[in-house]
């Protein structure tokens, strides 16, 4: 199996878009989960 490696520094800048989208996506999903969990705790928790 042959395998070539390259050296293209410009690719770092081009892939920053994926970093931005990926981190934003994770934060949005996590914040949605945080919100849902908070709501679950509120509506299913034991009433005092």
């Amino acid at each position: 199996m042959s395998f070539d490696m390259s050296f293209v520094p410009e690719n770092f800048v081009h892939s920053l878009e994926y970093m931005g989208k990926g981190m934003l996506g994770i934060f949005i999903v996590i914040l949605v989960i945080v919100g849902i969990t908070g709501a679950l705790n509120k509506f299913t928790g034991k009433k005092k």
Binding site: F12, H14, S15, Y18, G22, I26, T37, N41
Partner: protein, 379 residues
Amino acid sequence: MEFLYENLLCLTWQQVVMWLVGGLLIYLAIKHDMEPTLLLPMGFGAILVNLPFSGAIGEYVDGVLVEANGPLSTLFNAGISNELFPLLLFIGIGAMIDFSPVLSNPKLMIFGAAAQFGIFFTLCVASIFFDIKEAASIGIIGAADGPTAIVVANKLLGFDSPITGAIMVAAYSYMALVPIIQPPVIRLLTTKSERRIKMAYSEKPVSRTTKILFPIIITIVAGLVAPASVALVGFLMFGNLIRECGVLNSLSETAQKVLANLITIFLGITIACQMEADKFLRPQTLLILGLGLFAFIFDTAGGVLFAKLINLFLPKGKKINPMIGAAGISAFPMSGRVVHKMGLKEDSSNFLLMHSIGVNVSGQIASVIAGGMILAFFA
């Protein structure tokens, strides 16, 4: 008497090097108790596959592999190339995880998100040397989660890619090295006074209904956002649901112990199929191992720096100990324990365990979502 030494003459120096690599993994597992469930089978497997014309791989005729029907090849085809073993292991992992610390304080989950920074930063750096799918597969080492790394690398590159093996080995090896990798990074990015910040813990009860609905809802949310992650998230959450439903105790115990142990044995020794000398000993492997370490370092940095950023907006007395951000890396429960021990070292009365474990657990969820993101972008 030629038959006694003719195979010895076919031994290459590269195979001997791999014996030493295998021996090192076994040494770390036994002598230093570093994730022995992973490193010992991998180390021994590395030796098995680096014996000339190893029957563990298949049948050889005149030095050429004619049929990959050895037990390791069979196990590899049965469970790694189709991602079955890591997904089954996720059922066991899900059954082991108690999400209560994060359910009682869901805000901790944002540190789990922040600690996935290393995955994407490494993707950017790796793209300088590799094409984008390879770079993404290398970046996912930062998920600090063997099953996620295997599934993503397999889906993006295929199991016969020359770098998949290095990715799998890096993911599992660095998980074992978390107690060595994280502390220096945390110390570099925090001051002594920050490390001594105390965080009060008051246990908030979590209802059984919440514990049961949580895995179901997470699966639906993550699955709608990233359909490619449904297998990963779904199997993890299925294991957790078995644990929390309260009516499947024997299944939960089986998943946590028997299933997890069986799959770990098969997974560990079978991953070694990717450690044949001609596949593994390449300059690219060293670069991939280096990038994997880079991913772990920047995961840690991402979590810690995010916690410090949050602290800028919090009043005195309500500050977060930034070390808990580092626990957002998905190496559960090791990372949580590392942070807790560092806290105790700075102040023996500072118990960060419930906070760090909560963040650590959320890192498990966030890393799977990160894997789903990567698959959504590139699969």
